[in-house]
């Protein structure tokens, strides 16, 4: 539990600044520092156990199904990193408190910083690689926020995005790599994985896993060629650079290499990939650092170089090299964090970071100069500082590694390291004083104390490595290698160590290099260099552009193309599904073709084709489609489907009215605008699908169902079970009344939608006014029409009642009845106008819909009273002398709901559309 608490503490701390910021920066800083310190204290609490080689673990089951568990472990390696993260974290918090300007959103900064701290701590404490991934990605995210902290600066935004893209990409590769690792082992728990060296290294998936994991580690630790993001991350405030980009986050990759060292290292693949990446990075970045003029850029490339050094050491795969690597992690964190802080101080004091504009600060800023000297010389690997010790160990390892190019490159890197360090120091602090805009001076202790503490460590560790750092290096290295290690760190190993001579050569070479610097600089400046940022930007821009173009071209807003794609897909896959299986030939006896239906179908087909061919003349096309509807209705009557005929006839009338209402506004002609090729494409798709549909229909009609259809039950139960002769109607109101329930709601919603949209249209200024020039005849309401419709309305209602009442036994029903009523009322609208008809409406159409839904619902709910499910029907025969007995069925009540809903919906929709035709009048609420 305590480890989980430790991991959680920084996150809890991240919550506090929002609450404490009102009390001022100091309080806010102290509060978060308290959390960091508490975590540190809890870590130190475990120190004695760790030093003797124990491992502290905590297990919390989080997602056992996946193997993602909140398992934490604290061993020597974790301890080393935890101390760096929390210790330097405390210093950074103090430094930042004084560093950031008063106008900056400091609370947010602290929150981000603590989020990062938590993520980083999480990485090193994770005992589950999936959990580690969680924290790993969190560091990418929180560093994105920190780099982009000065969000008003374009380079900050860009640097943040670059870091996120690069480390994010690596992180995703690492997810794959670590998951493969987990799959090889069968567990995602580090404790298990670390014991499975043989299984992992003999697995065919070892190499892919290795490469993917290394991608993650190298991007995070800015190894060549993924180093480019780090210098751009320097757009972050200096405390961030000091913390993330020197001491902690960039070391996460190294941590991972170290963490997995026992199971991944020792193979040729590991050796070659890791050492070459490290060595190249070390030498290459050192060279670049030599030619940079920005203080932070020099430090950034130096960081890259030192990370390369450590990577190189880890790649060697020997315990001694691992020891050196661990030790250098510690040393580098101390001097580099200090240097970043000092660079920040110089920046603050002089308002520049360009070393060509700096100089002579040793007098103006003696404290800074002193601290910088210590840290820089350590960076250069000058004895007796700690940097020297670890560099010696590195050179010693390099010297014993074949081929020769390795020690040579290592020495060269050391040489360059000395050179840029000296250049950094001398250009900034020595030489003449240039004209500063205002006189620079040492900062308040708040700013210089944190680097001073680190500098003290640099000196102390250099002076007494074994008592001060030996135990820590031992513990960490033991944890890394999985075997007890007792390092021997000393200033002097005797004259026969190659490292000594390599160091001397490096220092000497560096002095020569610095002497030749102007010449070298001219060569450098004249050499064309691939600018990583330019390449990155260009490729990202190209990728963005490609993605954008692709998306815009694909989703170009063309509905026709969307349709075409859909139709093609449906057709192709349908045909494929058919082609790829067998089918028995149909054997049903077919019905004979009578002449009259043949004429009818011919008429329908002709009308459909004509409507398609003549679709540009919209009114004509509508008329032709009307013919199709007419023949279809008649066909239903002919094909023993009288209910369908009734429905189709009435729906047709209302649809035509609706379309004409709309066509009143719309253009009457469709322009010629599609190219011939498009028409050809459309025609082929349409014809192909038509043929396929016809074939499918024919195939279905040719054969009986494989199983007896369930409708046999409906036919058998229609009368005894549902109390109606009309099996279609009993299905609609009873067997499948629930479908009908949904269907009337669809209709109701349609009406509400039309009403709502009309309302919103009435409230807006239209781009287009209806073109009324076409129909300018007088006499909007012919008297004969008015008079006749007065008779037709009651007659229609009578017919409606007739169809409603007999629906259960004969064709008809609530739906048709509702439509017939609606048609009667629509006629009033047509004959006498919207004003006239709407003024005579007694019941609001809305209410009819609502009432319809409620009547249908409560009819259904009524069966609850009998403990029966929704919509359970009941019917009874009433004997009331002298009347003949008649049937009362709950289905009729349900049908009444249908009736009301249909009537209300049709009328509401038409009324709304009619109101649209005269937007000048005030809205009349329904």
């Amino acid at each position: 539990m305590s480890l989980a608490l430790i991991a959680a503490l920084p996150f809890l701390g991240a919550l506090t600044p929002a609450l404490t910021q009102r009390f001022g920066r100091s309080i806010a800083t102290l509060t978060v520092a308290l959390f960091t310190a508490a975590a540190l204290a809890l870590i130190l609490n475990h120190l004695p156990a760790i030093i003797v080689g124990d491992t502290v673990t905590t297990q919390i089951n989080w997602l056992p199904a996946l193997g993602l568990n909140a398992n934490f472990r604290l061993d020597g390696l974790a301890l080393l990193f935890a101390l760096l993260i929390l210790g330097i974290g405390l210093l950074i918090q103090a430094y930042a408190c004084f560093y950031l300007d008063k106008t900056e959103p400091y609370a947010r900064f602290l929150t981000y910083l603590m989020l990062f701290q938590g993520a980083m701590l999480g990485i090193v404490l994770s005992d589950n690689i999936l959990l580690l991934l969680v924290f790993w990605e969190l560091t990418s995210l929180s560093s994105f926020l920190l780099i982009g902290f000065w969000s008003h600066l374009p380079q900050a935004r860009q640097g943040a995005r670059m870091a996120l893209a690069t480390t994010g990409a690596g992180g995703l590769a690492m997810i794959a790599g670590l998951m493969i690792l987990g799959h090889i082992v069968g567990s995602y728990d580090l404790s298990t994985i670390l014991t499975q060296k043989t299984a992992i290294q003999t697995s065919p998936l070892y190499l892919p896993a290795l490469i993917l994991i290394l991608l993650g580690a190298f991007t995070k630790s800015a190894q060549f060629p993924f180093h480019f993001w780090l210098p751009h991350a320097m757009a972050a405030p200096t405390p961030v650079s000091a913390y993330l980009h020197s001491a902690t986050m960039v070391k996460a990759g190294l941590f991972l290499l170290a963490r997995l060292w026992p199971v991944l290292s020792g193979t040729p693949e590991w050796f070659w990939i890791v050492t070459s990446a490290g060595l190249i990075t070390m030498a290459f970045a050192a060279k670049v650092a030599l030619f940079k003029d920005d203080l932070k850029a020099i430090l950034a490339y130096s960081t890259v170089s030192h990370l390369g050094l450590i990577t190189f050491l880890l790649g060697l795969g020997t315990k001694a090299a691992a020891t050196a690597a661990i030790f250098h992690i510690l040393c580098h964190a101390t001097f580099k964090a200090a240097l970043f802080m000092l660079a920040g101080i110089v920046d603050h004091a002089t308002h520049t970071r360009d070393i060509r504009a700096l100089g002579g600060l040793r007098r103006a800023m003696p404290i800074t100069f002193g601290l910088a000297t210590i840290a820089t010389l350590s960076m250069a690997g000058i004895p007796p500082l700690n940097g020297f010790l670890s560099k010696e160990m590195m050179l010693e390892e390099a010297a014993h590694t074949a081929p020769w190019v390795i020690p040579v490159l290592a020495t060269l890197a050391a040489l360059l390291s000395v050179a840029y360090s000296l250049r950094f120091l001398t250009y900034t602090f020595l030489g003449p004083i240039p004209a500063y805009s205002h006189s620079p001076h040492d900062p308040t202790p708040g700013l210089w104390l944190p680097p001073a503490i680190l500098a003290a460590l640099v000196v102390a560790i250099g002076a007494a490595p074994m008592p001060l750092a030996g135990w820590l290096v031992d513990a960490a290295t033991s944890a890394t290698t999985g075997e007890p290690i007792h390092a021997h760190i000393a200033l002097w190993h005797g004259l026969e160590t190659p490292a000594l001579w390599m160091s001397l050569a490096a220092i000497g070479g560096a002095l020569v290099t610095l002497g030749l610097y102007p010449a070298l600089r001219r060569v450098w400046d004249a050499t064309p260099k691939p600018q990583a940022k330019v390449i990155f930007d260009a490729s990202l821009t190209a990728l963005t552009h490609t993605a954008h173009t692709f998306t815009a071209k694909l989703h170009n807003g063309s509905l026709s193309r969307a349709f075409a794609a859909a139709v093609l897909t449906i057709l192709t896959l349908g045909l494929y599904a058919y082609q790829s299986a067998e089918s028995l030939p149909g054997s049903r006896a077919l019905a004979a073709i009578a002449a009259t239906p043949a004429v009818g179908f011919a008429l329908m087909i002709t009308a459909a084709l004509a409507a398609t061919a003549l679709h540009r003349k919209r009114l004509l096309a509508l008329l032709l489609v009307g013919i199709v509807g007419l023949i279809l209705s008649a066909s239903f009557a002919y094909l023993s489907a009288p209910d369908l005929a009734l429905t189709q006839i009435t729906v047709e009338v209302v649809t035509v009215a609706l379309m004409l209402l709309a066509l009143n506004f719309l253009p009457k002609i469709t322009p010629h605008e599609t190219p011939r090729l498009r028409k050809l494409r459309d025609a082929s798709l349409a014809i192909g699908t038509g043929i396929a549909t016809a074939a499918l229909a024919y195939a279905l009609m040719m054969r009986e169902a494989i199983f007896p259809p369930i409708s046999a039950f409906h036919l058998a139960q229609s009368l005894p079970g549902a109390g109606g002769h009309n099996a279609v109607n009993t299905i609609i109101v009873d067997f499948r009344g629930y479908d009908t329930y949904g269907e009337i709601i669809v209709l109701g919603i349609a009406a509400l939608l039309i009403f709502a949209l009309t309302e919103s249209l009435l409230g807006t200024k239209w781009a287009t006014r209806p073109d009324q020039s076409a129909g300018d005849a007088g006499d909007p309401h012919p008297i004969m029409l008015q008079t006749a419709t007065r008779l037709i309305l009651p007659m229609a209602m009578l017919v409606g009642c007739y169809l409603f009442l007999r629906g259960h036994n004969q064709p008809g029903g609530g739906f048709v009845a509702g439509l017939v009523f609606a048609i009667g009322f629509v006629l009033q609208y047509i004959a006498s106008g919207q004003d006239w008809a709407a003024a005579r409406r007694r019941i609001p159409y809305h209410a009819m819909i609502g009432a319809g839904v409620l009547v249908a619902s409560f009819t259904g709910v009524g069966s609850f009273l009998a403990g029966r499910p929704f919509l359970t029907s009941n019917y009874t025969h009433i004997h009331l002398p002298p009347l003949q007995d008649f049937e009362l069925a709950t289905a009729a009540l349900f049908d009444l709901g249908v009736f009301l809903c249909v009537l209300g919906a049709v009328m509401l929709a038409l009324d709304a559309l009619a109101r649209l035709a005269k937007p000048q009048t005030a809205k009349d609420a329904c």
Binding site: W62, L63, A65, L133, V134, E137, S151, H152, R157, A160, R161, G168, A176, H183, T546, A547, F550, T551, A552, L554, H555, G557, L559, A562, A566, I570, L573, Y578, S583, A699, L700, A705, I706, F707, P709, I710, S711, R736, G737, Y738, D739, G742, G748, L752, L753, A756, L757, E759, S760, A767, H846, G850, A851, G852, V853, G860, P869, F870, T872, A925
Partner: protein, 475 residues
């Protein structure tokens, strides 16, 4: 048989009917009914999720002759997801006043919930069509709520495209009925294995057509064209609610793919899986490239939604219990994450302060599948379930990266580049609730996934589902 099963469908319908009948001109009453109704639905869903698999025989007609509702773990889960999302979105809508920008918002909203719940509960293929239509037409209404040129024009495309889908649905259902003589899904599950091996072509056609319908709803490439315009132009909260609409398609694909057309069915075999797999990959690609290459936030979220559907359906296409469980987890996650992003996008129209930025960050993290939120967990679950499939892994991971970069770019442009505008503080309650739900998904991932694992196992061995069909309807 518990009457509770029908309530998720008829309760919203009755409330909507009541709104139209008596409360259509009083906004406060509408809001009260709407909120209370949604809370009731949430309570119902919580009750039902603990219930065993059972059927509800409408009209008391026995299956397969009447229509049966079937409540199983999956449908209960979808009910819960819908109710949760609905409540969140409704709160946002009321607090931002979106419901005053047009008529009938609340009635349409309740009908929308009715349609969704009905689709999740039904055990009848044709009834599924009916409730698809209910939920679609309500969504049309909500989509154009408030009007405006761009929205209405996008609405036209949305409606037209879905009408094509609905027509296809009918073709498929007719083919199924014609060949098998039944519409009940459990009945189909029992009958299809008995189809003679030499006469499977027609049912295969039907299966493919049916799955294509669901693919339209799920925005599977190349049937995704309707989505970006619709989601980007819909009112913010409605776009958020629509996050669950694509899941209806996913739900139906899972339901039919495991119950009616499982991979061990001789007639269809792995036909559907093998079609779904490349389509899902293409969907991931289209979604990721769209998220990466688009600059307007709502559109970008729409593409991210497409991408997440691809990821989800990639998992579905494996048709293994483990992958299905992962897909279900991802369903919950991507619904809430998409919704959160849309709600935030709605907020950013007038407000881009630090708090909004933080909310955006959290939602974007979830959407991109970055830790610590559920997107990461979901992604890991799917990767784990698809182990050994390098293409799938690469697709998911690269898409995740592209989504992350795209959302980061938009976020930094939106919150860093353009100064935060001062506007009246709008409520963030709904967004916080949504993120809290995502956090819950993450923290409680253990119990949730073990529940989902059982759900997936039940889906792949649907004996309880089928058995529930034979237990009632005595009329």
């Amino acid at each position: 048989m518990s009457q509770l099963l029908i309530l998720p469908v008829i309760l919203p319908a009755i409330l909507a009917g009541a709104i139209i009948l008596i409360a259509r001109n009083t906004l406060n009453a509408q809001r009260a009914i709407s909120i209370l109704g949604t809370i009731a639905l949430l309570a119902l869903a919580i009750t039902l999720i603990q219930a065993p698999t059972q059927s509800y025989f409408l009209g008391n007609w026995p299956a397969p002759f009447g229509i049966a509702l079937v409540l199983d773990r999956l449908s209960a889960l979808m009910l819960l997801l819908t109710a949760t999302l609905a409540l969140i979105v409704l709160i946002h809508t009321i607090r931002t006043g979106w419901d005053t920008k047009g008529r009938h918002f609340h009635a349409l909203y309740l009908f929308q919930l009715m349609g969704l719940n009905g689709a999740f509960l039904t055990g009848d293929a044709f009834n599924l069509f009916v409730f698809f239509e209910v939920l679609l037409i309500a969504s049309y209404g909500l989509m154009v709520h408030g009007g405006g040129e761009a929205r209405i024009r996008a609405g036209v495309q949305y409606v037209a495209f879905n009408l094509l889908g609905s027509t296809l649905f009918l073709f498929a259902l007719a083919t199924i009925y014609s060949t098998t003589g039944t519409l009940n899904m459990a009945d189909l599950a029992q009958k299809l294995p008995q189809i003679p091996a030499n006469d499977t072509a027609l049912i295969r056609v039907a299966a493919v057509l049916l799955m294509l319908v669901f693919a339209v709803k799920a925005a599977l490439v190349p049937l995704q064209f309707w989505l970006p315009g619709t989601y980007a132009n819909a009112p913010g909260p409605i776009a958020a609610l629509f996050a669950v609409m694509t899941k209806v398609g996913a739900y139906a694909l899972i339901r039919f793919g495991t119950l009616v057309f499982p991979t061990d069915l001789p007639a269809t075999n792995t036909l559907l899986a093998s079609l779904l797999y490349p389509a899902a990959l293409a969907t991931i690609a289209v979604g990721a490239l769209g998220t990466f290459g688009t600059r307007s936030l709502p559109r970008q979220i729409a593409f991210a939604a497409i991408g997440s559907m691809g990821t989800l359906l990639l998992a579905v296409s494996a048709f293994t219990p483990q992958a299905t469980a992962a897909a279900l987890y991802y369903t919950l996650h991507s619904t809430l994450a998409t919704a959160a992003l849309f709600l935030i996008a709605d907020l950013t129209r007038c407000r881009r302060d630090g708090m909004t930025a933080a909310l955006y960050m959290a939602a974007a993290i979830a959407m991109a599948g970055m830790p610590p939120l559920s997107g990461f967990v979901g992604k890991l679950l799917i990767l784990d379930a698809l182990r050994g499939d390098a293409i799938a892994w690469a697709a998911i991971l690269i898409a995740s990266l592209l989504t992350m970069i795209g959302l980061a770019r938009t976020g930094s442009d939106l919150f860093w580049k353009s100064p935060s505008t001062e506007a009246p503080a709008e409520s963030k309650t709904a967004i916080l609730l949504c993120l809290a739900a995502l956090a819950t998904l993450t923290i409680a991932a253990g119990p949730i996934t073990s529940w989902l694992t059982l759900t997936a196992e039940a889906l792949h061995a649907p004996t309880a589902y089928i058995a529930a069909n034979h237990l009632g309807g005595t009329k």
